[in-house]
Symmetry: C2
Subunit: 432 residues, 2 copies
């Protein structure tokens, strides 16, 4: 469980051996971890870097036939897609937070405001801990269990910490969450309520992250969700793509706008769409994927606009903290996908992020966090700049919830009037 790079001994097996002690079907229809760069395959295990080229490992599958009816007969959460995830077939029996199958809202008011014909919001703010992180953490938890991890852990400053602490509590597994010591008190409470093992680290998020990688390498039996079980974790984001397609009536949208932090979510939605086409669950058709960043941390957007194949790291400076990854691990894959599909990567200023939050709340009654404000702001900009076709069916993903980033809009909104408790005082406001 300490391994973070697959062992050198496992050189290019055509059929990788399973890690010792795994029960049959521990990872469902997953067959191996495959290097995204060189294609080298290693056994399913706590590995995230290729032993040949150090490229990122990704879960590979051998899918059986899967029907719409099988999926529809499943539960109203991500496990309806368990055949397409690296989880055992009895995954519903293991205590987990049961995330997913969140609302896909037809957003006619917002569409009208921006001049779009058909727009939907995939709203992940209603997940158990109010962000899409519950999806990926549920898959990481399953991997941690199947790999006999003793500790479930992560470095995080917000949504991920909440999701890991909650999932760990429910699963009854020892959970340790590492946060920067200067994190705002409300965010600390929102994780500490679930666990006695919150560790505050003197330093910034990068320091916390480095410490987590060090512990993952040194300690036996620790599953860091976004480090040594990252390939399993990341697969959870595919469920966003599956749900969008199923909730549209088993068809792909024409355009999707997705926020970009590490870039993983965007690549996994694309992977999900490709899998659904391959499995014959949706018609094969073109779709465009767009990435959304905040200007204060927009390395992928900058690379897209400059026509670069690589992403130059930046030092983040934006209110969109949950997107503030200056050196995004999947940045180059985001560039590939947005270019291949005819999409784009765009960014908006912090003021536009705030406007985006209010726009989504006022038109559709969805209170999003700064990441969702970024995505809404980028949607607006993409339409205004002609990069997105307003006549095509479009979906945007809201990944989190406004109560977690109240400060972003606290000074922008308030009561229209303050009155004495009388009907006369009320009619004087002009609101009657």
């Amino acid at each position: 469980m300490s391994a973070v790079v697959a062992e050198q001994g496992s050189t290019t097996p055509s059929t990788p051996e399973a890690v010792a002690g795994l029960r049959p079907g521990a990872f469902g229809n997953a067959t191996a971890l495959s290097c995204r760069e060189c294609g080298h395959q290693v056994a399913l295990g706590p590995f995230y870097a290729c032993p040949e080229c150090f490229g990122p490992l990704e879960v590979a599958y051998d899918f059986p036939a899967v029907t719409r009816e099988q999926i529809a007969a499943g539960p109203a959460n991500i496990w309806r897609y368990k055949a397409l995830l690296p989880v055992p077939t009895d995954i519903e029996q293991s205590p987990n937070t049961e995330p997913g199958f969140t609302r896909l809202l037809k957003a006619d008011n917002l569409a009208r405001e921006l001049g779009l014909t058909n727009l939907w919001v995939k709203d992940d703010s209603t997940n158990p801990t109010n962000s899409f992180k519950d999806r990926v953490v549920a898959c990481a938890l399953s991997a941690a269990r199947e790999l006999h991890a003793k500790v479930f852990a992560c470095p995080s400053t917000g949504n991920l910490a909440n999701a890991v602490a909650a999932a760990g509590a429910r699963a009854g597994i020892k959970t340790v969450v590492f946060i920067p010591a200067d994190l705002e008190k409300p965010k600390q409470v929102n994780s500490a309520v679930y666990t006695d093992s919150l560790v505050a680290v003197n330093g910034n998020y990068d320091d916390v992250n480095r410490l987590a990688s060090e512990i993952a390498g040194e300690e036996e039996g620790w599953a860091f969700v976004n480090v040594n079980v990252r390939p399993f974790y990341a697969e959870g984001s595919k469920t966003l793509g599956y749900e969008i397609a199923e909730q549209l009536g088993w068809r792909l949208p024409d355009q999707v706008v997705i926020p970009v932090a590490s870039g993983s979510q965007l690549t996994k939605v694309d992977k999900a769409f490709q899998e659904l086409i391959t499995l014959g669950l949706v018609e094969d058709k073109p779709y465009r994927i767009f990435g959304a960043q905040a200007t204060g941390c927009s390395p992928v957007s900058a690379a897209f606009k400059d026509g670069h194949q690589v992403v130059r790291p930046v030092r983040p400076n934006t209110i969109a903290k949950s997107l503030a990854i200056g050196n995004p691990a999947d940045g180059v894959y985001v560039l590939d996908i947005c270019r291949r599909t005819g999409g784009a990567v765009e960014d908006v200023t912090d003021d536009e992020v705030r406007e985006g939050i209010l726009l989504l709340a006022r038109t559709e009654g969805i209170f999003t966090e700064t990441a969702g404000g970024t995505t809404t702001g980028v949607l607006k900009k993409l339409v205004e700049t002609g990069q997105l076709d307003p006549t095509l069916d479009t979906v945007i993903i809201n990944t989190g919830m406004g109560l977690k980033t109240l400060d972003a809009v606290a000074d922008s909104v308030g009561p229209a009037a303050t009155i004495d408790p009388s009907y006369a005082a009320f009619t004087a406001t002009g609101l009657a």
Copy 2:
């Protein structure tokens, strides 16, 4: 739309006439408003008090045959039960927040902690604005629309304000929300983000409520969700009962613990169970309903313990603000139901409320607000005092979300350690 008491002209019609201008089927299978005290019936309209005896009006129905399959074929929200609600058959077509069908989590860790055999948590914190209020507001919105209301409104200090402001924004109807002027800034923001028409009132919640009733009586076309369309609004809570039964595999639980503010939710869960039995959707069997209050506002619990038939109003003094109704409208019906079914009403102190919040978070990964802390605390007390049978299948309802009442536990939890970013510093904590 200004009427708050049904007109005297409509004396005891055996088949009440519909209000003029209603489209056929505007209220689905609902047939009339029926007085809970004297049985007098009036037409479906913006009425909440009986013209004969001033008793509360409640929606009456003539249900067709409804099958489990019809329900299962519906959407993953409350509209799967539309045949059992006072809403039109095309309700899904009207923009609304699409609440409901929230998680029913098997709570084995909490059960073990308290010595119960089988326990579930119905978790309404994952609704669109993170409380059960989205259910009732969705039904009120439908009524407001069908009754051609021009304004959608409520007095509230918290969850209801959020739900009304969000639903009104999404529906594109003018929305006015009245709050006490001294409400905490974060709670104001959480409503103001959705609407330009938040009105702060100098006074306490009772003052705000009185003003709302006055406006409802004076202004044409205002639908106050919890005043003049209250009978429709309240029906939304039935969906909690339907979902519990369906998610248990179409059977009723043996015992349910429900928080009591006005008492409406508890009475509607009972009504839902009775309807499911009458419709043959579940087996007829005994069940016990328990009410949960905070000691600082426990008029119904006090009446239950004293053997009284009436509820003596109190002045609330508890951290469980969302339960702090000193003169609960449905208090006597709660007494009736808890006595008839063999349940009880119990209360816990504010310290026990805080303990309840942490207990639910640590065992099941659910971060509840003070109302849920009350329910969890009461569950514990009911077991300890032998009032609830730990061997029977038990469900508790979590009505809201901890991020809204962070202060309740902010001083009780925090990091286990604060360290420098080194592996050596970490191992010294003893957490490795």
